[in-house]
C-alpha cells in the first residue's frame, strides 16, 4: 500500500480531476490577434501597471500595449532584473499580482534572479516572455533560450504558449495560480506566431485548476489539539511570518494575540503584520533579531509558528532548537510541515481561516511573569546594543540612528524597502510601522540590488505613501541603472545610501570568522551627487550628526525622487548575532 495520508489516492485524484467540468461560461468570443488577446487578458485581470523592456520576440505585444496605454501603464525599466524586482515591490506593497514582461533570450534570462527571489519569498508574479516562432523552437534561432526549462525549478508554474487560441485560458490560470494558496511566480513564454495569429477571444477567470489544491482544509482535530495546547501553556511564544500578510489575516492574527495574551515575535518576512507598539509584540527572531525572543525560544513551553517556515537564519542549529517546547505549526503549504522542524500539531490551511477557529476555542489569558522575562532580556539588549546604536558615543553616524530618525520624522508611517546587508538588518531591527506591508525586503534569497527597483514598484502601488529605500553602497551599485527609470517615469522614491565604504555584512563575517582578512570587501563609490544630478534627481550627502535631521527633513519635503547619501561608521557591526551553527540561546550581544 502506498502511504496516502488521509484520503485514499483514488478519491483525491477523482475529486480534483472532476473539477475540470466545473467552469463558468465565458463572454462572447471576438476575433483578434494573439497579442491583443494577451493584453486584453491582462485587462480582464485588472492589471493596471506592468514593468518591462521590449525586444524582437515580444514586439507584437508591445505594439498592442502602445494602443492601450491608458488602460495599462507600462514602465520602461533599464534592465529586466529591474522590471521583475519592481513588479515584486508592487506586489508586496499592494497584495496584488505583479506583472513584468521581457523579450526572449537575454531579456528572459535577465529575469531569473527576480524569479528565484519571488519563489523563495512567495511573491505573486506573472512574468511574460516573448519566444521565437514555434517553427524555430529547438533550432538555436536568434535569441532562442529555453526559458521554460531554465525557470522550472524556481517558478510555481510555467507554460509555453505556442498557439494563439491557448492565450485566454492559460493567462487566466497564470493569475489564479500566482495568487492563490501559497503565492509565487508564474512564467508564461509566448511564441511570436501565437502573438501574431488570430483567435476567437473570450475570457473567463480561472477559479480552480484540477490537479492543484491551493488551500488544504485543516483537520478539526488539529484545531482542537492546538487550542488545548495553548490553553495548557504556561510560557507560550508566537513566531509569525509572512503567512499572516499573504493570507490578509492581520486582523484575525491581532484578535488571536489579544485574546490569548501570548507574546509574539516576527520573522523578517513577518515584519509589519502588526505594529511595533502592539502590546504583544516582542521583536524579531533570527540571526540579527532581538535577544529576548531568540533566547526565550529555548525557554518557552509552547511555540506557535504562524505562517513561517523555520528558515535556518531563524532557527540557528536545529539540534537545540526549542527542544523543551511543544510546537504548533499553522501553515498553508503541506511541504513545509516537518521539513526542518518536527512539530507536535500541524494546522494546515490559510491562517485567515484557521486562526479564528483556534481563537474561538482558547481562554483569555495574560502572562505577566513570562512577559517579565522578555523585559529583562530586552533591557540587557538595550544596555549592550540598542543604546549605543541609537545614541552613539562615537563620532561616526550609525545606520540605526538614521533609521530611528526616519521613524520620528515619518511618524512610523513610511514603507521601508531595503537592500541586503548590514543596513537591511539595521532597518529590520529599528524601523517602525503603523500599517501592514510596510517593510519590503529580500528575505529568503538576499538579493543585492533589490532596493531601488522594489522601491519603485512599491511607490507605484501606493502613491499616497512615503516610500523610503534603505540601501548599502554595494547594493546601490547593483541596480543603479534604475535611476534612469525613476527619472523617466518620475517616481517619487526617497533613497538613502548608508555608505560604510565596505560590503559591510561580508566584512563583518570576515572580521568575526576570517581573522579580519578583508578579501574584496572594500568598495569605492562614484560621486552619488554628480550621478544623481546626471539623472536630474535631487540629492545630498551628510556625514555629521548635527546635520542628519535637517538632511532627512529636506529629503522628505522635496517633491519627487531624492537620493541621500549618509556616511556611516566604516567598521560597525550588527549585533546581537547568532553565529552560524550556534543555537538561538547562544546569541551574542557583542
Amino acid at each position: 500500500m502506498f502511504k496516502a495520508e488521509s484520503n485514499s489516492i483514488k478519491s483525491i485524484i477523482n475529486k480534483n480531476w472532476q473539477q475540470i467540468h466545473d467552469e463558468q461560461p465565458a463572454d462572447e468570443a471576438v476575433k483578434m490577434l494573439g497579442s491583443e488577446a494577451l493584453v486584453r487578458s491582462l485587462m480582464a485581470e485588472n492589471v493596471e501597471i506592468m514593468f518591462g523592456y521590449p525586444g524582437g520576440a515580444i514586439m507584437p505585444t508591445y505594439d498592442v500595449l502602445h494602443q492601450f496605454q491608458k488602460e495599462i501603464k507600462h514602465v520602461l525599466v533599464r534592465h529586466e532584473q529591474g522590471a521583475i524586482l519592481a513588479a515584486q515591490g508592487y506586489a508586496r506593497a499592494s497584495g496584488r499580482v505583479g506583472v513584468c514582461i521581457a523579450t526572449s533570450g537575454p531579456g528572459a534570462t535577465n529575469l531569473i534572479t527576480g524569479i528565484a527571489d519571488a519563489q523563495i519569498d512567495s511573491t505573486p508574479l506573472v512574468c511574460i516572455t516573448g519566444q521565437v516562432h514555434k517553427d524555430l523552437l529547438g533550432t538555436d534561432a536568434f535569441q532562442e533560450t529555453d526559458i521554460i526549462d531554465i525557470s522550472m525549478p524556481i517558478t510555481k508554474w510555467n507554460y509555453k504558449i505556442t498557439e494563439a487560441r491557448e492565450i485566454p485560458q492559460v493567462m487566466a490560470r497564470a493569475f489564479f495560480i500566482a495568487k492563490s494558496g501559497r503565492p509565487g511566480p508564474v512564467l508564461i513564454d509566448i511564441t511570436k506566431n501565437a502573438q501574431m495569429d488570430f483567435l476567437e477571444f473570450s475570457y473567463k477567470k480561472c477559479l480552480h485548476f484540477n490537479s492543484y489544491l491551493p488551500e488544504p482544509t485543516p483537520k478539526e482535530q488539529s484545531i482542537k489539539d492546538a487550542a488545548d495546547l495553548i490553553n495548557a501553556a504556561q510560557k507560550p511564544l508566537v513566531v509569525f511570518g509572512q503567512g499572516v500578510i499573504l493570507g490578509e489575516a492581520e486582523n484575525e492574527f491581532k484578535a488571536f494575540l489579544e485574546k490569548s495574551g501570548i507574546p509574539a515575535a516576527a520573522t523578517i518576512m513577518g515584519l509589519s503584520a502588526i505594529n511595533n507598539d502592539h502590546q504583544n509584540h516582542v521583536g524579531m527572531v533570527g540571526m540579527h533579531g532581538n535577544y529576548a525572543p531568540n533566547l526565550l525560544t529555548n525557554q518557552c513551553d509552547l511555540l506557535i509558528a504562524i505562517g513561517m517556515r523555520f528558515d535556518d537564519r531563524v532557527t540557528g542549529t536545529l539540534n537545540t532548537y526549542a527542544q523543551q517546547a511543544k510546537i504548533i505549526h499553522l501553515e498553508i503549504d503541506n511541504s513545509e510541515i516537518n521539513k526542518n522542524v518536527r512539530v507536535n500539531v500541524p494546522v494546515l490551511g490559510n491562517v485567515k481561516y484557521t486562526l479564528p477557529q483556534i481563537t474561538d476555542r482558547i481562554i483569555e489569558k495574560t502572562y505577566p511573569k513570562w512577559r517579565e522575562e522578555f523585559s529583562q532580556l530586552h533591557k540587557q539588549e538595550y544596555d549592550a546594543v540598542i543604546k549605543e546604536d541609537l545614541t552613539p558615543s562615537k563620532q561616526a553616524l550609525t545606520m540605526s540612528e538614521v533609521i530611528d530618525m526616519i521613524n520620528d520624522l515619518t511618524q512610523n508611517d513610511a514603507i521601508i524597502v531595503t537592500d541586503v546587508g548590514q543596513h537591511q538588518m539595521a532597518a529590520c531591527r529599528y524601523a517602525k510601522y503603523s500599517q501592514t506591508r510596510s517593510l519590503i525586503t529580500s528575505g529568503g534569497l538576499g538579493t543585492m540590488g533589490f532596493c531601488i527597483p522594489a522601491a519603485m514598484g512599491a511607490k507605484l502601488a501606493k502613491p499616497e505613501r512615503t516610500v523610503i529605500g534603505i540601501v548599502g553602497d554595494g547594493g546601490v551599485q547593483m541596480n543603479i541603472q534604475e535611476l534612469g527609470t525613476i527619472m523617466q517615469t518620475q517616481i517619487d522614491v526617497k533613497i538613502i545610501i548608508l555608505n560604510n565604504e565596505f560590503l559591510g555584512m561580508v566584512r563583518q563575517w570576515q572580521e568575526l570568522y576570517f581573522d579580519k582578512r578583508y578579501a574584496s570587501t572594500e568598495i569605492t563609490s562614484p560621486n552619488y551627487q554628480v550621478l544623481a544630478s546626471a539623472y536630474n534627481i535631487a540629492s545630498a550627502k551628510v556625514s555629521q550628526r548635527e546635520k542628519l535631521k535637517h538632511a532627512l527633513q529636506t529629503m522628505l519635503e522635496t517633491d519627487g525622487a531624492y537620493l541621500l547619501e549618509v556616511m556611516v561608521g566604516q567598521e560597525d557591526n550588527v549585533f546581537p548575532m547568532i553565529s552560524p551553527g550556534d543555537s538561538v540561546s547562544d546569541m551574542r550581544l557583542k
Binding site: S8, I13, D149, M152, W157, K160, S211, N338
Partner: protein, 173 residues
C-alpha cells in the same frame, strides 16, 4: 522533544517506490525530476503510463534514499501545480513486476541445446526468431530477470533492456 527533523529519521537508505499522478503536460517530467536532481539523488528507474482515468498519468519512480528525504521530496513533488498526488512505499507494501528483453544470436539457439533448457527453466518467452537473432522476453522481479541474464551471458547477449519495475499497492486505493 528533539525537533530537528534530521534526528527523527536514521540515515539508513532503502529502496522506495514512488507513485506520482499528474496531468499530461509537456515539461511536467522535468519538473518532477528537478526535485530529485536538486538534492543530487539518482533515479534508479522511471516508468510513465496513462492510468485508468483518462488524462491522468502515473509515474513509477524507484529511488534508494533515506526516509527523511523520500518524505520531503514526495511532498515537494505533490506541491507541483500539475501533480495530483504523490505517495511512496517500501517494497513489502507493493506488488511489482518488470519486463526484460534479451537479444541473442540465433545460432546459439540452434547449435546449443543448453539455451533451450535455460529458457524453459526461467519460463521465458520467445518473441521473434530471425536468421541472425532471437528475442526473448522475461517478466518478473529484477533478481529473476537478472538470473536469466546471467545464464544467457556466456552465449553472447547482443542487446538487453529492462523496463524497470512498475508497481501497484497491495491494498485497494
Amino acid at each position: 522533544m528533539q525537533h530537528n527533523i534530521n534526528s527523527t529519521f536514521d540515515d539508513t537508505k532503502k529502496d522506495y517506490t514512488m507513485a506520482l499522478f499528474s496531468r499530461n503536460r509537456a515539461g511536467i517530467l522535468n519538473r518532477i525530476t528537478a526535485v530529485f536532481s536538486r538534492i543530487k539523488l539518482n533515479i534508479d528507474s522511471l516508468n510513465v503510463s496513462e492510468t485508468e482515468t483518462h488524462g491522468v498519468y502515473r509515474y513509477s519512480v524507484r529511488v534508494n534514499t533515506t526516509e527523511k528525504l523520500v518524505r520531503r521530496i514526495t511532498k515537494q513533488i505533490e506541491k507541483q501545480v500539475d501533480v495530483l498526488k504523490a505517495v511512496y512505499a517500501t517494497d513489502d507494501l507493493i506488488v511489482q513486476q518488470e519486463v526484460a528483453l534479451y537479444k541473442i544470436p540465433s545460432e546459439v539457439m540452434i547449435d546449443d541445446i543448453q539455451t533451450e533448457d535455460i529458457i524453459r527453466k526461467h519460463n521465458a518467452k520467445i518473441l521473434r526468431i530471425h536468421r541472425e537473432y532471437t528475442v526473448i522476453e522475461k517478466t518478473g522481479h529484477k533478481h529473476e530477470t537478472q538470473a536469466l541474464f546471467d545464464e544467457l551471458q556466456p552465449y553472447g547477449i547482443l542487446e538487453f533492456v529492462r523496463s524497470g519495475p512498475i508497481s501497484i499497492g497491495k491494498i485497494n486505493y
